[in-house]
Subunit: 350 residues, 4 copies
Amino acid sequence: MSKTMMAVVKAEAAPGAEVREVKVPDYGPAEVLVKVKVASICGTDLHIYEWDRWAQNRIHPPLIPGHEFCGEVVAYGKEVTSVREGDFVSAEMHVACGKCLLCRTGEAHICRNVKIIGVDADGAFADYVVIPETNICKLDPDIPQEYASILDPLGNAVHTVLAGEIAARTVAVTGCGPIGLFSIAVARAVGAAQVFAIEINEYRRKVAHQMKADFVLDPAKDDVVANVKEQTGGLGVDVVLEMAGHPDSIRTAFDIVRSGGRISLLCLTSRPVSLNFSEDIIFKGITVQGINGRRMFQTWFQMTALLKAGKLDLHPVITDRIALADFPKAMGRLKTGEASKILLYPNGSR
Amino acid sequence: MSKTMMAVVKAEAAPGAEVREVKVPDYGPAEVLVKVKVASICGTDLHIYEWDRWAQNRIHPPLIPGHEFCGEVVAYGKEVTSVREGDFVSAEMHVACGKCLLCRTGEAHICRNVKIIGVDADGAFADYVVIPETNICKLDPDIPQEYASILDPLGNAVHTVLAGEIAARTVAVTGCGPIGLFSIAVARAVGAAQVFAIEINEYRRKVAHQMKADFVLDPAKDDVVANVKEQTGGLGVDVVLEMAGHPDSIRTAFDIVRSGGRISLLCLTSRPVSLNFSEDIIFKGITVQGINGRRMFQTWFQMTALLKAGKLDLHPVITDRIALADFPKAMGRLKTGEASKILLYPNGSR
Amino acid sequence: MSKTMMAVVKAEAAPGAEVREVKVPDYGPAEVLVKVKVASICGTDLHIYEWDRWAQNRIHPPLIPGHEFCGEVVAYGKEVTSVREGDFVSAEMHVACGKCLLCRTGEAHICRNVKIIGVDADGAFADYVVIPETNICKLDPDIPQEYASILDPLGNAVHTVLAGEIAARTVAVTGCGPIGLFSIAVARAVGAAQVFAIEINEYRRKVAHQMKADFVLDPAKDDVVANVKEQTGGLGVDVVLEMAGHPDSIRTAFDIVRSGGRISLLCLTSRPVSLNFSEDIIFKGITVQGINGRRMFQTWFQMTALLKAGKLDLHPVITDRIALADFPKAMGRLKTGEASKILLYPNGSR
Amino acid sequence: MSKTMMAVVKAEAAPGAEVREVKVPDYGPAEVLVKVKVASICGTDLHIYEWDRWAQNRIHPPLIPGHEFCGEVVAYGKEVTSVREGDFVSAEMHVACGKCLLCRTGEAHICRNVKIIGVDADGAFADYVVIPETNICKLDPDIPQEYASILDPLGNAVHTVLAGEIAARTVAVTGCGPIGLFSIAVARAVGAAQVFAIEINEYRRKVAHQMKADFVLDPAKDDVVANVKEQTGGLGVDVVLEMAGHPDSIRTAFDIVRSGGRISLLCLTSRPVSLNFSEDIIFKGITVQGINGRRMFQTWFQMTALLKAGKLDLHPVITDRIALADFPKAMGRLKTGEASKILLYPNGSR
């Protein structure tokens, strides 16, 4: 095996990143070295690339970004027992501390000591990546590589959809970025009775149609509340999955959820939102949930079971396939707003 | 409207039943008179027809049997507000007392004072049937009449499948009578990852294939436990839906459920079953549930939402369509073991 | 039985109310006539008395207010089967429609067609009150009359406390009006590990101490967040029960709840509240619930079981006992802010 | 620190055990060495001592038994971060594999690869014991040492009681060995409305009274079903906690649970039990749960929170305090049937 590899490197505390040769990383006794087959790009990677305020506060260059990927086990430390060379794997990139109350009571996804590989440590935009055995997820070879690469955001969708009752329920997805689009597919796969997709961007609405949302609404033109009420016997939807992170979208969530319904909030928002607690929450007796990451590891078992069974068609969301060496080009595509999920291929991986 | 109607009448405390002209029933101030469009036959109706021991203890002739149907509202009492003439309806035929602790705490489906229309009072094998407003379920006209007729057993299936987590889970259905077959469809519609159908009768296994069970096993020939373990990584299934009511089938349920899984028991059995509580329940940490009837009225909203959304293809289960006047012929078909669900059509209803 | 009775009457669309002789009300075939033993006063009654904006919009005089009471059955209609003359009863005064989706799926407490006896129809500040059988709650004679009178607000507390896991959890009650004070007692009775009471009013803090809150904090002087964090290993509390309805109190709720915790909001607020959804809800992965009324009738069974078993000492909250004839005096006491729960006694009831 | 210590040693595959000097055990990089303050005796220890069939199949001498204890951290490996020297600790002695589906989805308590310290590896009947950091539970110094020693069986009780709704519910505990007795205290602490204790042994019934069970019944003399029905309005209890493991006791559990109730089975039984599934489970719509071990680590947080808050008085269950050196004497006491929980004290620990 070569001692060096190609990787996307955020070398400086400044905009941009470069693709260059670096040392293949070492692995410890409880760690696994994975040869990356496919990686994929998250909005977070664009923040790091563009070096926005969040990135300036969080990222310590040099860093290899990338936290969505799949690959093949090529080596591992002596304490590792759950994978073998050649195994097809992905990984939960949120490395929880394992020792706090939250980790010890099944809520590692909100561990306050979490480290994210690809954000706080070198990630998967490279030929190889090192993952602790605790976080490796061995995959069934029947799962397509393209889907195996996007389990991180798909897991966000699965976690959000399955955070409460969903079978036979009416569902609205507010915001149709990749996770919103995945949520449409997941909600349908687990028996949502009707799925409303609400999205202001025309391109994304088109993809929402391809994902087979029952109703696709444009808040700039359609009367969303009236439409939803009409289709739901005047009640509103049972479940809202908030995937836009915009105050208008959050406002809509509260307007269209029925009494007794749930709003599951995944998408972050930097702006404050004002609510009328009496009318918006208390009289209606609703439940509002903050959703973060993926349940470790229920969400992984759930999504891989759905994928293995062929219950999810995610192809409309995968819009670009680009060589890892062309990373800056991928960043450019993402900024057009007309790409959903972009896959990156290390040299020789295809 | 005519003052008389045709009905199946169990006239005597003896085997058999006749189709004859009787008075159209009166309705009270809180009751609804429904013109039957389609009725369907349950195993219970055969017990009544054949006058077995259960029937001898429970039934007080004369009785019009029939507790599965759909129809159209033709008249109603002065206190009724939730339906109008011409509405397409079915009904929950378990009339709970509404006043006991169970009824008052959301468990009316296990009310100990329940009366069943078609068993304890005149039912739907007739041109008209009277239903209390409390038990009427107004249906969306998009739901096919054939499906609207079989909501009672479909509701048993929906209640059982949704009595615990099901999305992305592996499921075994033990016993493929009509409710078992419906359960396959429902489990698939709400995202079960794999469905095993286990059935000793060849004809029923054929229908289980048509319902798209992932694996159909014959306990007389296949090693069920070995098959299930092989397909589930050695664990066993997450969920067993027991729909056979035979001691062997119940034994299989405990053998194939994984540690931490659930067994939901719907089908009654007249024979005692012996368990090793330590091995079968305690070490495995499983949950065993008794399931009865349909949740009032969550189950009704769930199944009608799934039907309206077109999530359930139940056609393979509907094997016979017979005029109400030919009721004895329908009984004969049912006894062959090669009929699943038989629909009955009152004169002029088709 | 006399044909007339004394009652508090809101006669005009103007401030005030008078105590006068009126006709004993008639009851229908499904209704129960109850002789009031004790009634008690809610903040709503003060709104009606003072004729504030809410009252002007909601109340249609003439009206007998009063929705907290207990009494004895003296007569009932011919359809009534669940109570007998002499039975000791109280009632759920929210009369739900019974026919909407929410009523039919166990969420009658958020029925949008609800009518409240004592607000939308004549209530219990009188010698007699009429209650539909559906809403009557028969009480064990072991429950003290004083407690039987306050089941409506106690039920709010029980509903809120038991709306999620509570045993062995740390709990904060923000706001110590009567329902907040009851919540302290209920939380302790069902095994809350620690109860923090947070209240700005000195008198109410004193009562919170009497209710045996483990920590009583004054947000005007104490650093509430620091205190809570110190006592909870830096995490914050597992559960916040919001009982103040003030934007500052709601802000505190979000500041002191731990990651993964729940905030249950009962108290209404007329002012908008601004949140940072990312920090306040999403990253922390919390659940926010709107709570309304009492679960029909789980809450009733829960609270009467706790009362019968002697698990709740509510005496510190009952501060005044006044004759019904002195109703205006009771209003004056309430306005002092130094009365918690005021009981009213119709003539001869003591 | 001395290099040797005193320990109870099961040296041979034969009845008995001896107290002798052995080497203080070594600890690995992720392990903690604990000086035992108090240990306590479980029925399992008697099985090992007497060398019954179960022991012959499971135990590989030489072995130091003992899986209930508390102590003080005296040393730890270099990877350990969550405890410090002098910390007061106990431990979950079921060491789960951490890698199987059950471990990864929050069900480590039913991991099929579990190893039990004190059964499969050297345990706590010694001056020192080695525990992996993953299984150490740091305790608040306010928790009494005597209670800290019995967290293993107390955790069984807490797990069983809190395996479903319990607040304001009626509860029966069938079998009043130490875990049954603890269950009475836990059920009361978390708001059970009434607790029935059912026990055939007179001595244990006496302790059940001391634990403040509301009703203590002797199945040899009392009509248990009639008594329970009379006190529960004819319904039966909401919850049965089965702690006897005898077929008669299990039969009673099914006879006294109400429709819609739960039976949580903890105690193992070597004999088969025959049920009428229709009458016992399905018509009644009950839930039957197998309970095993303690939830890792929710149960630990729950029980230590209850203990720290002083909610549990367990003193009546602690009947004997014996020096570790007198282990055979302790075995003799246990066999009398008049000891509940026996505490062992290593030399100098008191």
